[in-house]
Protein backbone atom coordinates (compact mmCIF):
# COMPACT_ATOMS: atom_id res chain seq x y z
CA UNK A 1 0.00 0.00 0.00
CA UNK A 2 1.54 3.28 -1.12
CA UNK A 3 0.32 6.25 0.91
CA UNK A 4 2.49 8.85 -0.80
CA UNK A 5 1.05 11.40 -3.17
CA UNK A 6 1.61 11.04 -6.90
CA UNK A 7 3.74 13.58 -8.72
CA UNK A 8 0.61 14.96 -10.34
CA UNK A 9 -1.12 15.34 -6.98
CA UNK A 10 1.94 17.09 -5.53
CA UNK A 11 1.95 19.47 -8.49
CA UNK A 12 -1.76 20.32 -8.32
CA UNK A 13 -1.72 20.79 -4.56
CA UNK A 14 1.34 23.02 -4.82
CA UNK A 15 -0.45 25.08 -7.43
CA UNK A 16 -3.55 25.54 -5.28
CA UNK A 17 -1.47 26.29 -2.18
CA UNK A 18 0.40 29.04 -4.02
CA UNK A 19 -2.89 30.39 -5.39
CA UNK A 20 -4.36 30.66 -1.89
CA UNK A 21 -1.26 32.34 -0.50
CA UNK A 22 -0.50 34.66 -3.38
CA UNK A 23 -3.98 35.54 -4.65
CA UNK A 24 -6.51 34.99 -1.86
CA UNK A 25 -4.69 35.97 1.33
CA UNK A 26 -3.58 39.47 0.16
CA UNK A 27 -7.15 40.32 -0.92
CA UNK A 28 -8.61 38.92 2.26
CA UNK A 29 -6.48 41.26 4.38
CA UNK A 30 -8.49 44.17 2.98
CA UNK A 31 -11.91 42.62 3.60
CA UNK A 32 -14.10 42.72 6.66
CA UNK A 33 -13.21 39.76 8.94
CA UNK A 34 -16.65 38.25 8.38
CA UNK A 35 -16.78 38.82 4.61
CA UNK A 36 -17.81 35.97 2.34
CA UNK A 37 -17.33 37.53 -1.08
CA UNK A 38 -14.67 39.30 -3.12
CA UNK A 39 -15.57 42.36 -5.11
CA UNK A 40 -16.71 41.57 -8.64
CA UNK A 41 -13.51 42.72 -10.37
CA UNK A 42 -11.23 40.56 -8.21
CA UNK A 43 -13.62 37.64 -8.44
CA UNK A 44 -13.75 37.73 -12.24
CA UNK A 45 -9.97 38.12 -12.49
CA UNK A 46 -9.36 35.12 -10.25
CA UNK A 47 -11.96 32.99 -12.04
CA UNK A 48 -10.05 33.67 -15.27
CA UNK A 49 -6.89 32.46 -13.53
CA UNK A 50 -8.43 29.23 -12.25
CA UNK A 51 -9.78 28.59 -15.74
CA UNK A 52 -6.29 29.16 -17.18
CA UNK A 53 -4.90 26.70 -14.65
CA UNK A 54 -7.48 24.13 -15.73
CA UNK A 55 -8.86 23.98 -12.22
CA UNK A 56 -12.26 25.64 -12.68
CA UNK A 57 -15.39 23.63 -11.89
CA UNK A 58 -13.50 20.90 -10.04
CA UNK A 59 -16.59 18.91 -9.13
CA UNK A 60 -18.18 19.08 -12.57
CA UNK A 61 -18.04 15.69 -14.30
CA UNK A 62 -15.73 15.72 -17.36
CA UNK A 63 -18.63 14.98 -19.72
CA UNK A 64 -20.06 18.36 -18.66
CA UNK A 65 -16.78 20.19 -19.10
CA UNK A 66 -15.13 19.61 -15.71
CA UNK A 67 -11.34 19.02 -15.46
CA UNK A 68 -11.57 15.26 -14.72
CA UNK A 69 -9.68 15.19 -11.45
CA UNK A 70 -10.23 12.17 -9.22
CA UNK A 71 -12.03 12.49 -5.89
CA UNK A 72 -8.97 11.86 -3.71
CA UNK A 73 -7.10 14.69 -5.42
CA UNK A 74 -10.20 16.91 -5.21
CA UNK A 75 -10.33 16.19 -1.49
CA UNK A 76 -6.68 17.19 -1.13
CA UNK A 77 -7.47 20.36 -3.08
CA UNK A 78 -10.43 21.07 -0.77
CA UNK A 79 -8.04 20.86 2.18
CA UNK A 80 -5.81 23.50 0.54
CA UNK A 81 -8.68 25.75 -0.54
CA UNK A 82 -9.92 26.13 3.03
CA UNK A 83 -6.65 27.57 4.35
CA UNK A 84 -7.73 31.17 4.75
CA UNK A 85 -10.09 33.16 6.97
CA UNK A 86 -13.28 32.56 4.97
CA UNK A 87 -12.15 29.09 3.95
CA UNK A 88 -14.65 26.99 5.86
CA UNK A 89 -17.82 28.32 4.26
CA UNK A 90 -16.45 30.26 1.30
CA UNK A 91 -13.32 28.39 0.17
CA UNK A 92 -11.35 30.70 -2.11
CA UNK A 93 -14.54 32.78 -2.33
CA UNK A 94 -15.89 30.44 -4.98
CA UNK A 95 -13.35 31.32 -7.68
CA UNK A 96 -12.72 27.63 -8.41
CA UNK A 97 -16.38 27.33 -9.38
CA UNK A 98 -18.41 24.32 -8.42
CA UNK A 99 -20.89 21.79 -9.65
CA UNK A 100 -23.79 23.66 -8.05
CA UNK A 101 -26.43 21.17 -7.09
CA UNK A 102 -24.95 17.85 -8.19
CA UNK A 103 -28.40 16.22 -8.12
CA UNK A 104 -29.21 18.11 -11.33
CA UNK A 105 -26.85 15.85 -13.26
CA UNK A 106 -29.65 13.27 -12.92
CA UNK A 107 -32.30 15.70 -14.21
CA UNK A 108 -34.24 15.42 -17.48
CA UNK A 109 -32.75 17.13 -20.53
CA UNK A 110 -35.37 19.87 -20.27
CA UNK A 111 -34.55 20.45 -16.62
CA UNK A 112 -30.83 20.46 -17.40
CA UNK A 113 -31.35 23.13 -20.06
CA UNK A 114 -33.30 25.31 -17.68
CA UNK A 115 -31.35 24.80 -14.44
CA UNK A 116 -28.13 22.78 -14.71
CA UNK A 117 -26.35 24.38 -17.66
CA UNK A 118 -27.07 27.98 -16.58
CA UNK A 119 -25.73 27.05 -13.12
CA UNK A 120 -22.54 25.60 -14.58
CA UNK A 121 -22.11 28.77 -16.65
CA UNK A 122 -22.48 30.83 -13.46
CA UNK A 123 -25.73 32.41 -14.66
CA UNK A 124 -28.06 30.86 -12.09
CA UNK A 125 -27.81 29.94 -8.44
CA UNK A 126 -29.64 27.19 -6.62
CA UNK A 127 -30.31 26.22 -3.00
CA UNK A 128 -30.89 22.87 -1.31
CA UNK A 129 -34.13 22.90 0.70
CA UNK A 130 -34.28 19.88 2.97
CA UNK A 131 -34.22 20.85 6.68
CA UNK A 132 -37.35 22.02 8.45
CA UNK A 133 -38.09 23.38 11.93
CA UNK A 134 -39.00 19.78 12.81
CA UNK A 135 -35.47 18.60 11.99
CA UNK A 136 -32.96 17.94 9.26
CA UNK A 137 -31.05 14.82 10.23
CA UNK A 138 -33.99 12.48 9.80
CA UNK A 139 -35.62 13.72 6.61
CA UNK A 140 -37.74 10.59 6.23
CA UNK A 141 -39.75 11.56 9.28
CA UNK A 142 -39.06 15.28 9.76
CA UNK A 143 -40.36 16.57 6.44
CA UNK A 144 -43.75 18.14 7.01
CA UNK A 145 -43.85 20.36 3.93
CA UNK A 146 -46.66 18.94 1.86
CA UNK A 147 -47.24 18.78 -1.86
CA UNK A 148 -50.73 17.97 -3.13
CA UNK A 149 -51.43 17.11 -6.76
CA UNK A 150 -53.67 19.46 -8.72
CA UNK A 151 -53.91 18.35 -12.35
CA UNK A 152 -50.53 18.95 -13.99
CA UNK A 153 -49.30 20.88 -10.98
CA UNK A 154 -48.44 20.35 -7.34
CA UNK A 155 -49.45 22.77 -4.59
CA UNK A 156 -46.75 23.06 -1.93
CA UNK A 157 -47.23 24.39 1.61
CA UNK A 158 -44.73 24.36 4.44
CA UNK A 159 -41.62 25.82 6.03
CA UNK A 160 -37.89 25.19 5.60
CA UNK A 161 -35.18 26.26 8.03
CA UNK A 162 -31.37 26.60 7.89
CA UNK A 163 -31.38 26.99 4.11
CA UNK A 164 -28.22 28.68 2.83
CA UNK A 165 -28.33 30.97 -0.17
CA UNK A 166 -32.09 30.91 -0.76
CA UNK A 167 -32.37 34.72 -0.65
CA UNK A 168 -30.00 35.02 -3.62
CA UNK A 169 -31.03 31.94 -5.54
CA UNK A 170 -32.92 31.67 -8.81
CA UNK A 171 -34.23 28.21 -8.00
CA UNK A 172 -33.97 25.52 -5.39
CA UNK A 173 -34.48 21.84 -4.71
CA UNK A 174 -37.40 21.56 -2.30
CA UNK A 175 -38.22 18.26 -0.63
CA UNK A 176 -41.89 17.77 0.18
CA UNK A 177 -44.10 14.96 1.40
CA UNK A 178 -46.26 13.64 -1.42
CA UNK A 179 -47.59 10.58 0.37
CA UNK A 180 -47.95 10.84 4.14
CA UNK A 181 -48.54 7.10 4.57
CA UNK A 182 -45.20 6.00 3.15
CA UNK A 183 -42.48 7.48 5.38
CA UNK A 184 -39.22 7.77 3.45
CA UNK A 185 -40.97 6.51 0.32
CA UNK A 186 -43.39 9.40 0.36
CA UNK A 187 -40.93 12.28 -0.20
CA UNK A 188 -40.44 13.97 -3.57
CA UNK A 189 -37.85 16.51 -4.75
CA UNK A 190 -39.20 19.52 -6.69
CA UNK A 191 -37.23 22.12 -8.61
CA UNK A 192 -38.76 25.43 -7.56
CA UNK A 193 -38.19 28.84 -9.17
CA UNK A 194 -37.79 31.46 -6.46
CA UNK A 195 -40.00 33.92 -8.32
CA UNK A 196 -42.94 31.53 -7.99
CA UNK A 197 -45.91 33.12 -6.24
CA UNK A 198 -46.10 31.84 -2.67
CA UNK A 199 -42.31 31.42 -2.29
CA UNK A 200 -41.08 33.51 0.63
CA UNK A 201 -37.72 34.01 2.29
CA UNK A 202 -39.08 35.11 5.66
CA UNK A 203 -35.88 36.01 7.42
CA UNK A 204 -32.15 35.53 7.76
CA UNK A 205 -31.33 33.24 10.67
CA UNK A 206 -28.51 34.91 12.58
CA UNK A 207 -26.08 32.45 14.10
CA UNK A 208 -22.44 32.20 15.13
CA UNK A 209 -21.74 32.29 11.42
CA UNK A 210 -22.45 35.74 10.07
CA UNK A 211 -21.18 35.04 6.56
CA UNK A 212 -22.88 32.57 4.24
CA UNK A 213 -25.91 32.79 6.50
CA UNK A 214 -28.97 30.58 6.60
CA UNK A 215 -32.56 31.60 5.89
CA UNK A 216 -36.07 30.52 6.80
CA UNK A 217 -38.48 29.83 3.94
CA UNK A 218 -42.23 29.63 3.79
CA UNK A 219 -44.31 28.19 0.96
CA UNK A 220 -47.91 29.37 0.72
CA UNK A 221 -49.96 27.54 -1.90
CA UNK A 222 -46.93 27.53 -4.18
CA UNK A 223 -47.83 26.04 -7.55
CA UNK A 224 -45.07 23.90 -9.13
CA UNK A 225 -45.49 22.06 -12.44
CA UNK A 226 -45.29 18.26 -12.29
CA UNK A 227 -42.55 18.56 -14.92
CA UNK A 228 -40.37 20.07 -12.18
CA UNK A 229 -40.15 16.87 -10.18
CA UNK A 230 -36.49 15.86 -10.00
CA UNK A 231 -36.15 12.11 -10.42
CA UNK A 232 -39.26 10.12 -9.64
CA UNK A 233 -42.34 10.78 -7.56
CA UNK A 234 -41.83 9.59 -3.96
CA UNK A 235 -38.13 8.91 -4.59
CA UNK A 236 -36.80 12.15 -3.17
CA UNK A 237 -35.36 10.54 -0.06
CA UNK A 238 -32.70 8.73 -2.07
CA UNK A 239 -31.69 12.05 -3.67
CA UNK A 240 -31.42 13.69 -0.23
CA UNK A 241 -29.59 10.77 1.30
CA UNK A 242 -27.06 10.53 -1.52
CA UNK A 243 -26.33 14.23 -1.25
CA UNK A 244 -25.92 14.06 2.53
CA UNK A 245 -23.43 11.18 2.23
CA UNK A 246 -21.36 12.71 -0.58
CA UNK A 247 -21.28 16.15 1.01
CA UNK A 248 -19.63 14.77 4.15
CA UNK A 249 -16.26 14.33 2.42
CA UNK A 250 -15.59 17.93 1.24
CA UNK A 251 -17.25 19.18 4.44
CA UNK A 252 -14.68 17.23 6.46
CA UNK A 253 -11.81 18.26 4.18
CA UNK A 254 -12.51 21.96 4.80
CA UNK A 255 -12.21 21.42 8.55
CA UNK A 256 -8.82 19.77 8.11
CA UNK A 257 -7.59 22.64 5.94
CA UNK A 258 -8.49 25.20 8.57
CA UNK A 259 -6.93 23.06 11.31
CA UNK A 260 -3.70 22.83 9.28
CA UNK A 261 -3.56 26.58 8.81
CA UNK A 262 -4.25 27.23 12.50
CA UNK A 263 -1.48 24.79 13.44
CA UNK A 264 0.90 26.44 10.96
CA UNK A 265 0.18 29.83 12.56
CA UNK A 266 0.79 28.41 16.03
CA UNK A 267 4.06 26.78 14.97
CA UNK A 268 5.29 30.14 13.70
CA UNK A 269 4.13 32.03 16.78
CA UNK A 270 5.23 29.99 19.77
CA UNK A 271 9.01 30.16 19.18
CA UNK A 272 8.75 33.97 18.96
CA UNK A 273 6.45 34.68 21.88
CA UNK A 274 8.25 34.82 25.23
CA UNK A 275 6.83 34.38 28.72
CA UNK A 276 8.88 34.52 31.92
CA UNK A 277 12.08 34.77 29.93
CA UNK A 278 11.61 31.80 27.63
CA UNK A 279 9.78 31.18 24.37
CA UNK A 280 6.38 29.54 24.58
CA UNK A 281 7.72 26.69 22.47
CA UNK A 282 9.96 25.63 25.37
CA UNK A 283 6.91 24.97 27.59
CA UNK A 284 5.71 21.40 27.75
CA UNK A 285 2.09 22.54 27.98
CA UNK A 286 2.45 24.22 24.60
CA UNK A 287 4.41 21.35 23.05
CA UNK A 288 1.69 18.89 24.01
CA UNK A 289 -0.98 21.10 22.44
CA UNK A 290 1.02 21.15 19.21
CA UNK A 291 1.50 17.38 19.34
CA UNK A 292 -2.19 16.76 19.95
CA UNK A 293 -3.00 19.09 17.05
CA UNK A 294 -0.69 17.18 14.75
CA UNK A 295 -2.26 13.86 15.73
CA UNK A 296 -5.78 15.26 15.29
CA UNK A 297 -4.92 16.59 11.84
CA UNK A 298 -3.18 13.43 10.63
CA UNK A 299 -5.76 10.95 11.76
CA UNK A 300 -8.69 12.94 10.38
CA UNK A 301 -6.88 13.48 7.06
CA UNK A 302 -6.33 9.75 6.54
CA UNK A 303 -9.93 8.91 7.45
CA UNK A 304 -11.23 11.53 5.01
CA UNK A 305 -8.92 10.32 2.23
CA UNK A 306 -10.03 6.74 2.81
CA UNK A 307 -13.67 7.80 2.42
CA UNK A 308 -12.81 9.68 -0.77
CA UNK A 309 -10.88 6.72 -2.17
CA UNK A 310 -13.80 4.35 -1.52
CA UNK A 311 -16.27 6.77 -3.09
CA UNK A 312 -13.94 7.09 -6.06
CA UNK A 313 -13.82 3.32 -6.49
CA UNK A 314 -17.61 3.14 -6.38
CA UNK A 315 -17.77 0.86 -3.36
CA UNK A 316 -20.04 1.59 -0.35
CA UNK A 317 -18.61 4.48 1.65
CA UNK A 318 -21.42 5.60 3.92
CA UNK A 319 -19.63 4.47 7.09
CA UNK A 320 -16.33 6.05 6.05
CA UNK A 321 -18.05 9.31 5.05
CA UNK A 322 -19.80 9.47 8.43
CA UNK A 323 -16.50 8.77 10.22
CA UNK A 324 -14.75 11.42 8.16
CA UNK A 325 -17.37 14.02 8.98
CA UNK A 326 -17.43 13.07 12.66
CA UNK A 327 -13.67 12.92 13.19
CA UNK A 328 -12.67 15.95 11.09
CA UNK A 329 -15.27 18.34 12.51
CA UNK A 330 -14.48 17.39 16.10
CA UNK A 331 -10.71 17.38 15.55
CA UNK A 332 -10.90 20.70 13.71
CA UNK A 333 -12.71 22.25 16.66
CA UNK A 334 -10.11 20.99 19.11
CA UNK A 335 -7.19 22.20 17.00
CA UNK A 336 -8.58 25.71 16.55
CA UNK A 337 -9.42 25.88 20.25
CA UNK A 338 -5.89 24.89 21.26
CA UNK A 339 -4.39 27.40 18.85
CA UNK A 340 -6.53 30.18 20.30
CA UNK A 341 -5.25 29.21 23.73
CA UNK A 342 -1.63 29.45 22.54
CA UNK A 343 -2.25 32.88 21.01
CA UNK A 344 -3.93 34.16 24.18
CA UNK A 345 -5.75 37.47 23.75
CA UNK A 346 -4.74 37.70 20.10
CA UNK A 347 -6.47 34.38 19.51
CA UNK A 348 -9.88 35.81 20.32
CA UNK A 349 -9.35 39.13 18.51
CA UNK A 350 -10.66 39.78 15.02
CA UNK A 351 -7.09 40.63 13.97
CA UNK A 352 -6.54 36.91 13.42
CA UNK A 353 -8.81 34.41 11.66
CA UNK A 354 -8.90 32.06 14.67
CA UNK A 355 -12.03 33.60 16.21
CA UNK A 356 -13.98 33.21 12.96
CA UNK A 357 -12.78 29.63 12.56
CA UNK A 358 -13.74 28.92 16.18
CA UNK A 359 -17.31 30.16 15.62
CA UNK A 360 -17.74 28.47 12.27
CA UNK A 361 -16.07 25.24 13.32
CA UNK A 362 -18.58 24.88 16.14
CA UNK A 363 -21.34 24.81 13.55
CA UNK A 364 -19.57 22.02 11.66
CA UNK A 365 -20.34 19.57 14.47
CA UNK A 366 -24.03 20.23 13.84
CA UNK A 367 -24.37 21.03 10.12
CA UNK A 368 -24.74 18.22 7.56
CA UNK A 369 -25.80 15.86 10.34
CA UNK A 370 -24.53 16.29 13.91
CA UNK A 371 -21.84 14.10 15.46
CA UNK A 372 -24.48 11.96 17.18
CA UNK A 373 -26.17 11.18 13.86
CA UNK A 374 -22.81 10.23 12.32
CA UNK A 375 -22.25 7.83 15.23
CA UNK A 376 -25.74 6.46 14.62
CA UNK A 377 -24.95 5.91 10.94
CA UNK A 378 -21.69 4.15 11.83
CA UNK A 379 -23.41 2.00 14.46
CA UNK A 380 -26.05 0.97 11.94
CA UNK A 381 -23.35 -0.06 9.48
CA UNK A 382 -21.49 -2.01 12.17
CA UNK A 383 -24.49 -3.76 13.65
CA UNK A 384 -26.64 -4.11 10.56
CA UNK A 385 -29.98 -5.79 11.08
CA UNK A 386 -29.14 -6.74 14.67
CA UNK A 387 -29.60 -3.10 15.63
CA UNK A 388 -33.38 -3.29 15.16
Amino acid sequence: MDLSLTQEQEMIIGLVRRFVREEILPLELKLDPDADALDAVDRDRLISKTKELGLYGLDIPPEYGGPDIDLVTRTLIAVEMAQHRAGLYAPCYGVFGGAGLAQLFEATEEQKDKYLYPTLRGEKRGFFGLSEPSGGSDPARAIQTKAVRDGDNWIINGTKLWISGADRADFGLVFARTDSSKGRNGVTCFIVDTDTQGFHVRRIVHTLRSAHYATELQFENMVVPAANILGELNKGFAIANDRLTRQRIPYAAGCIGVAMKAQEMALEYVPQRETFGAPLSSRQAIQWMLVDNDIDIKQSLWIVLEAAEKAQRGVPFRKEAAMAKLVATEAGGRVVDRCMQMFGGLGVAKDLPLERWFREMRIRRIGEGPSEVQRHVIARELLGSSLR
Binding site: A35, D167, R203
Partner: protein, 112 residues
Amino acid sequence: MAISLEKPWISSDRLNEVLAGHMGVFQLANDNDQTIFIGFAGGKSPGGLKHEVAEMLATFPDAESFRYEITTSYWSRFKELMALHWAEHKSYPQLNDRTQVGRISPTAAGVY
Protein backbone atom coordinates in the same frame (compact mmCIF):
# COMPACT_ATOMS: atom_id res chain seq x y z
CA MET B 1 -39.74 38.58 16.20
CA ALA B 2 -39.26 41.97 14.54
CA ILE B 3 -36.58 41.94 11.90
CA SER B 4 -36.81 45.63 11.03
CA LEU B 5 -34.89 48.16 13.11
CA GLU B 6 -37.74 49.92 14.93
CA LYS B 7 -35.98 51.94 17.60
CA PRO B 8 -36.70 55.68 17.69
CA TRP B 9 -34.41 57.93 15.65
CA ILE B 10 -31.74 59.75 17.67
CA SER B 11 -30.67 63.26 16.76
CA SER B 12 -27.15 63.42 15.33
CA ASP B 13 -26.01 65.83 18.04
CA ARG B 14 -26.42 63.06 20.64
CA LEU B 15 -23.87 60.83 18.93
CA ASN B 16 -21.12 61.11 21.56
CA GLU B 17 -23.53 60.63 24.41
CA VAL B 18 -25.15 57.50 22.99
CA LEU B 19 -22.60 55.55 20.98
CA ALA B 20 -19.43 53.70 21.91
CA GLY B 21 -17.01 51.41 20.12
CA HIS B 22 -19.24 48.36 19.73
CA MET B 23 -19.72 46.35 16.58
CA GLY B 24 -23.16 46.60 15.08
CA VAL B 25 -25.45 48.02 12.42
CA PHE B 26 -26.95 51.47 12.00
CA GLN B 27 -29.28 53.52 9.84
CA LEU B 28 -29.20 57.22 9.01
CA ALA B 29 -32.36 59.22 8.29
CA ASN B 30 -33.14 62.57 6.67
CA ASP B 31 -35.36 65.22 8.24
CA ASN B 32 -38.45 63.24 7.12
CA ASP B 33 -37.30 60.18 9.04
CA GLN B 34 -36.67 58.31 5.81
CA THR B 35 -33.82 55.85 5.90
CA ILE B 36 -31.14 57.15 3.55
CA PHE B 37 -28.22 54.93 4.54
CA ILE B 38 -27.63 51.56 6.18
CA GLY B 39 -24.17 50.72 7.46
CA PHE B 40 -22.26 48.59 9.91
CA ALA B 41 -19.31 48.79 12.23
CA GLY B 42 -17.44 45.56 11.63
CA GLY B 43 -14.36 43.82 12.91
CA LYS B 44 -12.02 46.21 11.09
CA SER B 45 -13.68 49.41 12.29
CA PRO B 46 -11.15 51.42 14.29
CA GLY B 47 -13.75 52.93 16.60
CA GLY B 48 -16.86 50.83 16.23
CA LEU B 49 -20.33 52.30 15.87
CA LYS B 50 -19.33 55.68 17.23
CA HIS B 51 -16.64 56.10 14.61
CA GLU B 52 -18.66 54.73 11.68
CA VAL B 53 -21.80 56.75 12.42
CA ALA B 54 -19.75 59.94 12.97
CA GLU B 55 -17.92 59.42 9.70
CA MET B 56 -21.13 58.83 7.74
CA LEU B 57 -22.89 61.81 9.35
CA ALA B 58 -19.97 63.97 8.28
CA THR B 59 -20.04 62.52 4.75
CA PHE B 60 -23.79 62.91 4.24
CA PRO B 61 -25.08 66.37 5.23
CA ASP B 62 -28.69 65.26 4.61
CA ALA B 63 -28.45 62.81 7.49
CA GLU B 64 -30.16 64.29 10.55
CA SER B 65 -30.56 61.31 12.84
CA PHE B 66 -29.49 57.73 13.39
CA ARG B 67 -30.50 54.52 15.11
CA TYR B 68 -28.41 51.46 15.79
CA GLU B 69 -28.24 47.92 17.06
CA ILE B 70 -25.23 46.39 18.77
CA THR B 71 -24.53 42.95 17.34
CA THR B 72 -21.57 40.74 16.52
CA SER B 73 -23.63 39.35 13.62
CA TYR B 74 -23.25 42.67 11.85
CA TRP B 75 -22.54 41.09 8.47
CA SER B 76 -25.76 39.06 8.16
CA ARG B 77 -27.80 41.73 9.98
CA PHE B 78 -26.62 44.41 7.53
CA LYS B 79 -27.64 42.23 4.60
CA GLU B 80 -30.98 41.53 6.23
CA LEU B 81 -31.68 45.25 6.74
CA MET B 82 -30.75 45.98 3.12
CA ALA B 83 -32.98 43.17 1.87
CA LEU B 84 -35.79 44.38 4.11
CA HIS B 85 -35.44 47.92 2.76
CA TRP B 86 -35.67 46.53 -0.76
CA ALA B 87 -38.76 44.48 0.17
CA GLU B 88 -40.48 47.57 1.57
CA HIS B 89 -39.39 50.22 -0.95
CA LYS B 90 -38.25 48.29 -4.03
CA SER B 91 -35.01 50.25 -3.83
CA TYR B 92 -31.88 50.46 -1.72
CA PRO B 93 -31.37 53.45 0.58
CA GLN B 94 -30.49 56.58 -1.35
CA LEU B 95 -26.87 56.77 -0.17
CA ASN B 96 -25.88 53.11 -0.28
CA ASP B 97 -23.88 51.56 -3.06
CA ARG B 98 -26.11 49.58 -5.37
CA THR B 99 -24.71 46.40 -3.91
CA GLN B 100 -26.86 43.46 -4.82
CA VAL B 101 -28.09 41.73 -1.70
CA GLY B 102 -30.60 38.94 -1.21
CA ARG B 103 -34.35 39.08 -1.44
CA ILE B 104 -36.65 38.48 1.48
CA SER B 105 -40.40 38.80 1.84
CA PRO B 106 -41.20 39.25 5.50
CA THR B 107 -44.74 39.28 6.78
CA ALA B 108 -46.50 42.65 7.26
CA ALA B 109 -44.48 45.39 8.99
CA GLY B 110 -41.29 43.36 8.90
CA VAL B 111 -42.46 41.25 11.80
CA TYR B 112 -41.95 37.55 11.60
